[in-house]
Amino acid sequence: MQSENLIPLKNFCLSHELKFSFIETLQHYGLVEVTNVEHISFIHDSELPKLEQLVRLYRDLDINFEGMEVITNLLRQMEEMHDEIIRLKNKLAAYENG
């Protein structure tokens, strides 16, 4: 993993005016993956959209951590079903076109 792909959590919390305990709780619920390098906590930049979405759910909609976990799981299921529909449509089209 390259260091330029890691974002220090301290910076993230400062920029979003969040307490570090918020991230720790998200980590506890398995909602974000935190990487520790030499006692410093980072998140990988690929985790950033997910983390920001969680911040929005928390701030905008007053969703608690249990709710965020449920929503995250349901959104993932929706995405998987969406991909499955595309795959099935492809297969169907292939058979229909002979």
């Binding site: 979003h16 929503i71 959104l75 595309i86």
Partner: protein, 300 residues
């Protein structure tokens, strides 16, 4: 630009209390929040309206101004100037926390801008940095083009972006272009652009993952006696040996003649060929006699 009835947007009456407004807003926001409605443009639009209605109605000063001038929004500025010069009152945007609204930069309608101008955006100054929204786009590609790695130029927000499409890309597959989404809010990073490939089959082959399927016609004599035929693949023509006494519907596999494996250069799936044996038609008398003789040989 039309008058926007913020009370109607939130489904509350004009005497609604701050608590009623907050409740109505929360309820609608939970239903239409873009994070809960991915790829739903209608929900996105509704959310912006709800957000805007809340921006006005939850702020007593803005609400007062809206109630006073709402329908006369075209003249609101003149009213306001006249009022200020007579009483030196100041209409200031109170800073408060609302939706972080990073969806397309927390856009407001022209009506809102006309009535409140920049002052209406008081909350923006308290916002933290947010990454811009991700864009979703669809790109059509012919199956024959998906066979080879190639470059394509796309125009995104007026900018030309040259992308490399690796051979073997699947129909429905998504690729991410980092930073080509909506601009970040308050200096946050740009979102990403996700391109979903819609692959149109312009070939006679059926594709299933990395394998290709096709059928070829062979004449009865080649099927019975064996021989050699030439068939098309996506990579040119190949010669095939047909075994004697080949049955109709026989399927053969040509290893490595299928579709390229995505991001695995030099690796290909297989091509499956099904033989359709064509029975001769318009037989001459001599052919009929010979087939009759063959038939007799079989039934002896």
């Amino acid at each position: 630009m039309d008058f926007v009835d913020y009370y109607k947007v939130l489904g509350v009456d004009k005497n609604a209390s701050q608590d009623d407004i907050k409740k109505a807003y929360r309820k609608l926001a939970r239903k239409h929040h873009p994070d809960l409605n991915p790829n739903n443009k209608e929900a996105h639009k509704l959310f912006q309206q709800i957000n805007e209605a809340n921006e006005v109605l939850s702020d007593p000063e803005k609400r007062k101004k809206y109630d006073e001038y709402g329908k006369e929004w075209k003249h609101a500025e003149q009213f306001e100037k006249a009022k200020q010069s007579s009483s030196h009152q100041h209409f200031g945007g109170t800073e408060r926390q609302g939706f972080s609204g990073d969806f397309e930069g927390g856009e407001f309608s022209d009506f809102f801008e006309s009535l409140f101008g920049n002052m209406g955006r008081g909350r923006k100054s308290t916002q933290s940095k947010f990454r811009g929204q991700d864009y979703q786009a669809e790109l059509q590609l012919n199956l024959s083009d998906a066979y080879t790695t190639h470059q394509q130029t796309l125009t995104i927000d007026g900018k030309n972006v040259r992308i490399t499409i690796p051979a073997g890309i699947e129909n429905g597959q998504k690729i991410k272009l980092k930073g080509y989404g909506a601009p970040g809010v308050n200096g946050g990073p740009n979102g990403d652009l996700f391109i979903t490939f819609n692959i149109i089959n312009n070939t006679k082959f059926r594709r299933d993952m990395n394998d290709l399927y096709t059928s070829v016609d062979i004449d009865l004599y080649t099927a019975v006696l064996g021989g050699e035929i030439t068939i098309d693949t996506l990579n040119g023509k190949v010669k095939l040996k047909v075994n004697p006494e080949t049955q109709n519907g026989t399927k053969i596999r040509l290893k490595g003649k299928g579709f390229p494996v995505y991001k695995n250069e030099g690796h290909f799936g297989d091509l499956f060929v099904t033989y359709n044996i064509k029975t001769p038609t318009h037989l001459s008398q001599k052919e009929k006699d010979l087939f009759t003789e063959l038939s007799r040989l079989r039934t002896k």
